[in-house]
Symmetry: D3
Subunit: 239 residues, 6 copies
């Protein structure tokens, strides 16, 4: 089974971290292919960048010329998943949904800890649309930018842990989701220090994607995610 | 006052229709500039196309080199408004929100009549995020594609009217919103035949945008719609 | 175009302030007529007074013997708008709805700052019924009574600003609505000091009412707001 | 114990029917006093009439010059209860709330059958504000006006029964609330024919009011329903 | 009229306290029978214990061999009420619902003060399912276990009062519900000190159960609470 | 890895069917142990039976004397999962949640097709509490009892398919969940005939449970699902 894990940022080192993260839990026989978009922002921290990433991820996946069995969109709170679901026959898993959906099996309420405060409403809105919002206790910002999280793991750890502890104590979260691709690899340390289960979206998405493939399930094509209708499109290279 | 009215489709005749529609209600002294995206689908009827339009509209507005006072995104249920709000200092009005918001002043519940069934979930989701969903009685599809609506007004009229009447009778709608740019110019006929107020998103957006400008109000920049942070971006603006 | 702006309080000086406020943004050719109810409380700060005002406003408007094009009910969180909508053919705009609806075009969430804590639930309930509640971050009380706000603008400014800042910082509001007619004229100062857009309900209502008139739209008469049925009514002077 | 049962309509025969209805379940030692408002519409079927009734009921209760232990507002979906709660120290029970609250002890979902379609949104909105809406399967109109219901019990029975059966079969209601004072006395027949429990708001309100008095409970005065502040009021006869 | 009041805990002294509490408000002619489950935990403070209590209460009621007119399940936030409603023809009242439903007649919002923090989500979830959650301002834990509350009334009083005051001041509760059977007898003292109405679930349930019986109302049997179908059951002694 | 799959019914043939179903998707190295409760109803179709099953499942799992890595509760809409989560250190997956959660990755809305109409509210309520209700288009009853579904697969197929088609056409479901253990093995046929993805709760639960184990995640013990406190328990054999 081959799973594409697509970074939403154009920063290569995040792609590498995400890919390693995905590989660390992939089943025997699952091949993880990490992809970096051909265009867009080095890190996604807002709507403009996120919309650009939505298209860039679709473009990157369509440009991939080998067969594959599932796609993981590895951005937290980003746009675009629905477009991929229209374009593809194979299952598409967004890490925002994967983390929340997994967390809900582990506790009565979960919180997300993300990068900057400005990205909080994006994540909240995606969870609302995904129908995974009701049991979200809070989305909290660590205050660190995506690239800061990625480049300074020790500082990231402290900042995330601080918010995780507030989430557990004040917001009554029982599970923490790591809400940024740049946090790859910190889950175990945060679990040990916070005392609650910590869900990493990328690893959760890998096992979910594998599960869907094994169950023979893929996106419904009867309405919302039907393939795009044939029509004139200008300036879209991948079709 | 200069207001940009940006089509989401690359179909020029829709831009012309929307522009005329906007001009028909613009105040004395308001200049309406109709813009067509430089790339994207000729008509938007799904998520892939809508995400592409989101970026294309942002690109088109940023490429406009004259001063302007407000922007209207003239697509029903499309993505992208939040990105424009980050990129611009002037107010941004989406016709989906403009129509719903206006309809809520006119009746206890409103319905939207749109093009194809597959676009219904997009509109519902945008209204949910905009916080304008509670008083929406239904979103109904006329069954006609965007270009069919635009090219055959008589057939469009019949199909829209049929759904409007069901919306009033069964869904208890008291106001109808025309949920597609291709429906420009049909509001008055549908009002006369259905007996309820009919809101056209483009004209509603023009008066709302003018109002915001006159009131000296524009997008809040403290959090969600703060200007994008300075960072490396590949392949934007012109692709 | 003639727009009636009806105070809900019987305090004349508030009528004058509201009328000036309305005139300050009215379009060329719009005549603003300020009306004071013939009965009721000098200031409205609770349900008993608000219900009395509902009837008094209806009576006052029905007693007005000249033609008019729209009515603005200038009370924040008061009852009665639905009754006016039944009695009249022209559009009716409540400033509570006008402010919230306008704020939602400007930011992801808005807060209302009002007079006394006891009026907070009234405003919340009106916003709930209007379907404009979802994006309301909070309704906060300045702690000053309506007449105190009106009579001591400097103290009002400090008290409102304090709550506005808490709303932005803690409740994550991105826009502030001034939730009391007695706050007329403070918007600009609060915007400058708080750094977020500030919406005054009266001015927002004026441009909205003008917009509805220009668009040829008025209240739907098919169900909720149909004209009252002919029947025996005792003790209602205006019919 | 003395309980005031206040009709919202000025039609005396409804007051008499409601009073008899209330007496039929009152405990030994409970005195029921039926009151008719001094002004307002003979029957309430809309917002204008309902707001007028709100004030008329408050006026009528304040004009009652004997001691009493509780007040029942006997109108379905009408305004005004919150005002009475401010004005009085004794408990206030609205029959809309009493019926819904009682029905929720009897089945998983309930429906209301009322008079005319135009009153449906009023009832829905009152239930929404009362927090008793979630388990409401539907509010259905019999199509008969209040006075028709009161004057032609056999026709009323048929019309109500028809809607009750649709509510049970299609809306999955398990309990029916009779949503109009003019339906007094029909509950038992509708229960027998529909096979589900039928709640009459007036009788439910009597036992609830008696319960509150026996438990020594009355309206909280700390915030929403605090007594009106002392202030100048013009044209309100009862204070 | 005979009403069974069933403790959910196997602790006899709580049964005695609850029975006395119920008797203190029972009408003349109402006989209160307190029952203790034959199996289960001495105190219920979690889901495992609550599910066990659900079955134990059903077993205890079915083992009662005299006629009775209503059943009160005297556990706050416990499971099982729906099962009793299937098994019995007479009305069933859960004290969680009785308290909330009563509180909603007294104030705009209510809070519950319960025993341990771990029981808060159980109560919240039961109120959500009962449709009585919307006006709940908060569920707060006193931090004392059920048996501690029962055995040390003075300490209980202090701990409950502290949370009640926070609920009123910060959560804007206007009424307090005592959320634990072990709190029997403290309502009056807490009311005096907190200044808001305090609802005891057991006494509220008694008057509600009496009311339902007097009104001739019982559980609807058409769908959710229809009698269990005849079928083979292993190891259930009471049928 | 060893996963316990616990039937909620005491009918052995359903245990066998469920076990086979689970084994059909289990990963290499996963051992599936099917368990039948020691007491309870042969089939669960209501609250009384479901509460009994909740305790019986907990008892059965605690009586299992070998190590295991996860537990699947294989009843649709049944009570009890929260109790297991308190009692165990390993992850617990309920098939109701597993199916809904999986379906939400496949389409914009899903419907559940279950056995009898009386079980519909149980399933709806469980989905509400699980926070997986928002995207549920409908829960529909096939009209066949659990044992009928299990014993007559051809009739089951027809009845389920009929409801699945209505769900897709009228309720706008894009995915169907098979809402009864007795439907094991029908998913593929229903998918082929209905044209939408069909999720079987048991197989979905197996891959989810395996995923949680592989990710090293288990139930949070900080609040709702903390281990029961040490206390006297009468008549509970397993502790």
């Amino acid at each position: 089974m081959r799973i594409l894990v697509v970074n939403v940022n154009t920063c290569e080192s995040i792609t590498q971290a995400i890919t390693r993260q995905a590989q660390s839990v992939a089943a025997l026989g699952t091949e993880i292919i990490g992809l970096t978009p051909h265009f867009g922002a080095e890190s996604i921290e807002g709507n403009f960048e996120s919309y650009l990433a939505a298209v860039a991820v679709m473009q990157r996946v369509m440009a991939y010329d080998q067969p594959f069995d599932a796609v993981i969109q590895a951005g937290y709170g980003e746009h675009g998943r629905e477009g991929l679901q229209e374009l593809l026959e194979v299952p598409v898993v967004d890490i925002t949904d994967a983390a929340a959906s997994t967390a809900m099996f582990l506790g009565h309420a979960y919180s997300v800890v993300t990068s900057l405060d400005r990205t909080v409403p994006l994540i909240e809105d995606r969870l609302r649309l995904s129908g995974l919002w009701q049991r979200c206790a809070s989305v909290r910002a660590s205050g660190l930018a995506v690239l800061e999280l990625e480049q300074d793991p020790e500082r990231a750890l402290q900042a995330i842990l601080q918010q995780a502890e507030i989430a557990v104590r004040e917001d009554k979260a029982e599970v923490i989701c790591l809400g940024c691709g740049g946090m790859a690899g910190l889950a175990e340390q945060i679990r040990q220090r916070s005392g609650v289960p910590v869900v990493d979206g990328v690893t959760a998405a890998v096992t979910l994607a594998e599960s869907l493939v094994r169950l023979g399930l893929s996106t419904s094509k009867v309405r919302t995610y039907a393939a795009p209708r044939a029509k004139a499109i200008v300036g879209w290279p991948a079709r």
